[in-house]
């Protein structure tokens, strides 16, 4: 084992919330990058015909909004974890309300657990993110497990 273990004091850590606008151009770019050819995700007329006020954010898009932070890897920096040693282990989404272009959402993340396996060779950081809209309603809950290879 070459790296120090992550300090468990970080369990419970909440980072500064991020408030961000869901942008149409970004959604179209995401559709292109993921091979999405359903016009609902790129054409506003198709989105409205499907009942959305504007282009909907696709199922995994909210994860991407977290990278809008000034330091997208802030958590790893706070914990002194090298980006080169991390892998994405698990990701989950719970959906409460649709999110569409033009919506302003707030992401609030908390570290809910840090644990290790294989005598510390692998460490796991669990982060839960609540996403709320301008009205303060919970629109989605994300959970991410990051694996650190020590």
């Amino acid at each position: 084992m070459t790296a120090a273990m992550i300090d468990r004091k970080h369990i419970g850590l909440s980072l500064e919330p991020l408030t961000v606008t869901v942008e149409k151009g970004r959604l179209r770019f995401f559709a292109k990058a993921t091979g999405q050819d359903d016009p609902v995700y790129t054409d506003e007329a198709a989105a409205r015909a499907a009942g959305y006020p504007s282009l909907p954010a696709p199922p995994t898009f909210l994860f991407s909004l977290g990278f809008e932070k000034p330091d997208p890897f802030e958590l790893l920096h706070v914990m002194d974890v090298d980006l080169a040693r991390v892998l994405h282990g698990e990701q989950s989404f719970v959906y409460h309300k649709p999110v569409c272009a033009g919506d302003v959402v707030t992401l609030k993340s908390t570290v809910t657990d840090i644990y290790d396996k294989k005598d510390g060779a692998l460490e796991f950081i669990v982060q839960k993110t609540d996403v709320t809209n301008e009205a303060g309603a919970l629109v989605a809950e994300l959970q991410q497990v990051v694996v650190v290879r020590n």
């Binding site: 770019f29 995401f30 292109k32 990058a33 999405q36 359903d38 696709p58 199922p59 977290g66």
Partner: protein, 139 residues
């Protein structure tokens, strides 16, 4: 896709398979930009080698987005209640991702008729990259 009803769905039913184009360096560059995940391990071979990898490799969230397409190709996105995956193996350059889904359970929850799906993203040889579940509500 619209008009799918709970009664018409049976445990064991398969979703239409989604096969992607081979993942290229361009795919990863575009996804890095669009997703905002600029981690150089996915786009910079020098960084990847310094981290002990032979080459850059795909973002797990790229394949999860492909699985998302599998789901929204089957039901409107407003039907989606949950979506979970585990990233089981790294996806390498030039692999095509094959997304599959199977109806695992039909049940009622929160006053809705819901279907639990087992979903998987694998390469063409059948090596599983992502394994997970989704829950959709059907009329």
């Amino acid at each position: 896709m619209n008009g799918l009803r709970f009664e018409a769905v049976n445990v064991g039913d398969k979703l239409p398979v989604l096969r992607t184009a081979p993942i290229s360096r361009t795919t990863l560059a575009l996804f890095a930009g669009a997703s905002g995940d600029h981690n150089p391990i996915h786009i910079d071979i020098d960084f990847a080698r310094s981290a002990g990898m032979e080459d850059v490799f795909a973002h797990g969230m790229l394949s999860m987005a492909y699985l998302g397409r599998l789901l929204t190709g089957w039901v409107p996105q407003t039907a989606l209640r949950r979506f979970d995956t585990r990233f089981v193996a790294i996806t390498q350059l030039r692999e095509r991702i094959v997304c599959t889904g199977t109806v695992a359970q039909k049940y009622e929850e929160d006053g809705e008729k819901r279907v639990r799906l087992a979903v998987e993203a694998a390469n063409e040889a059948g090596e599983v990259k992502l394994a997970g579940e989704a829950v959709v509500a059907l009329p």
